[in-house]
Amino acid sequence: MNRTIERHRHIIDFALSSLLRRKGKNLSLLAVYVLIVFMIGSVMFFIQALKREAALILQGAPDMVVQRLVAGRQDLIPVGYGDKIGAIRGVSGVRPRLWGYYYDPAVGANYTLMAADGDRQAPGTAVIGSGVAATRRLAQGDFLTLRDYSGEPVLLEVAGIMPYASDLVAADLIVMAESDLRALFNLPGGSATDLAVAVRNPRELATIAAKIARQFPDTRPILKSEILRTYDSIFDWRGGMVVVLLAVAVLSFVIFAWDKATGLSAEERKEIGILKSIGWETGDVLLLKFWEGTVISLSAFLAGVILAYGHLFFFSAPLFEHALKGWAVIYPRFRLTPAIDAYQLAVLFVLTVVPYTVATIIPSWQAATVDPDAAMRS
């Protein structure tokens, strides 16, 4: 047992000194390797963190949203529908919601406008997301200018700016009094954008949705789980695009590693010949190459993961935010909550370490199986 440990120790020692001897080659390989792990890791961790963030936010979302369709497109829904839906057995509450989008030609950005519940927002005032504040350079107490449906300017005093923590969903949000929103868009009274429905027993959701659809054929009930699925798809799609790009990078890396490994220099081949001629077995040489590869790949893996973690969770992913958070004038600025699990790390390990190991071990094995007398003839 001791001899086996000593043998490994000797060979690891020699592997380390071999790596140091070829500093230039190994450092360049390590740098490319770290970069690949960093990029793939950043994308994977980012998508995971975003999904988790979205899921947390949607926890507070209504169980079901009911929209009205006219000619296949969403239209305003009469608030009276809510009273009838509220009477369906199993429904615990119905809340009409009033919201819309506003395009600001001055900065080319889209805002989400929302009416506050009840009288929580005084008429003539608004609470705005930090993205809106930054784009329009507004502070608390300033006036936000919008144009109403007829082109007339509407002034709203900024009563507050939402915190960065809520940026993922609130960067482009403007919350105002219901009367201001109706006046801005000329929305008729007694109508809402949609209805938020609360249900006592989540198992009855599908049944209640079917009842609503039967009772109001011009409506479309949307369940919370469907919203979650859509969010998942969006993040997966965006992440998927970057992953496709990264696959090209990974492929380049495999070719690079293969080239480096197959291109065993004449000196490296000679060295293998010397080792075999002085009594090293093929297995000993492979063990040496295995440890060399392990040192490189584990160092790169650890460094890449740590860099990706820092990039995402300490610096808010400046390299990827444009591709992954959305294409817009207003980008959400928020700090992601670290969400890394063993599964993700294992996937990252398989994606990065296995190709390198395969790329290095096979050519080394080919070189290690040469007859040791080659050294005598060199």
Binding site: N2, R3, T4, I5, E6, R7, R9, H10, I11, F14, S17, S18, R21, E267, K270, E271, I274, L275, K276, S277, I278, G279, W280, E281, T282, D284, D371, P372, D373, A375, M376, R377, S378
Partner: protein
């Protein structure tokens, strides 16, 4: 005793460029003696050394080590006789590591690592404790008067120093047989004589020494107990059949 019976070695067998480096050589090499293989370039000396040293297998014929290899490799009949030509690679490597020490014409030291590491290299796969290997390596380096270079990279050594390091490396596993291929090819007269003195000390220690050389300092040396002349892969003079 090392016995070779009708040993031949061909390269590129079955191809247009096939050539036979060693032809039907039968030879008995006495233990504890200095045997010199003498002959011009291409006479088959180096190939014969690689066959005896378990670095390659003969195409035909038998090579037998009698009473030389460690007991762990000896046959079950207790005669201490091993026919190395029929052994699998793993055993062949084991015998090569424990029974033979090699001194190469080009020294074949691993560049970029220290003198001490080079000397210790053959012992790494044995799993012997690092401390004892290191101690023995230092003793050998001191013995050959290169101890002061122990922590220096081998690239900085002169030809004579590099060869003494190569000799120390050949002895690190305390082999019974030392094989040297053209050991004086890159040395001046003084260093060549010094090498023969070192070979004399091996002989005094009871080791079997096998040298391939076409240098008169080697084959005319009074230390040479047997000189076997080779040409075109055959033994033309000297040596006795088993």
């Amino acid at each position: 005793m090392i016995e070779l019976v009708q040993v031949s070695k061909s390269f590129n067998a079955g191809k247009a460029n096939q050539f036979t480096a060693v032809r039907e050589v039968s030879l008995a090499i006495a233990p504890g003696r200095v045997t010199v293989l003498k002959g011009p370039s291409g006479s088959g000396k180096t190939t014969l050394l690689t066959l005896i040293g378990c670095m390659a297998r003969p195409t035909s014929g038998r090579i037998v080590l009698r009473g030389i290899a460690p007991a762990s490799f000896a046959g079950p009949d207790g005669t201490g006789e091993i026919e190395i030509t029929s052994l699998p690679e793993r055993f062949l490597t084991g015998i090569r590591r424990t029974t033979f020490g090699f001194i190469f014409q080009q020294f074949n030291l691993v560049r970029g690592i220290t003198v001490l590491e080079n000397v210790m290299l053959p012992a790494y796969p044995t799993g012997e404790a690092h401390g004892s290997v290191r101690r023995r390596a230092m003793e050998l380096l001191e013995l050959f008067n290169v101890g002061r270079h122990a922590s220096a990279p081998v690239d900085r050594l002169s030809g004579g120093e590099a060869q003494r390091v190569a000799i120390a490396r050949a002895l690190i596993n305390d082999p019974a047989i030392v094989i040297a291929d053209e050991p004086t090819a890159h040395l001046d007269t003084g260093l060549s004589r010094e090498f023969m003195e070192i070979a004399g000390s091996f002989k005094a220690a009871g080791k079997t020494i096998l040298i391939a050389s076409h240098d008169p300092i080697v084959f005319d040396s009074p230390l040479a107990d047997a000189v076997v002349e080779m040409r075109d892969g055959r033994v033309t003079r000297g040596g006795s059949a088993p």
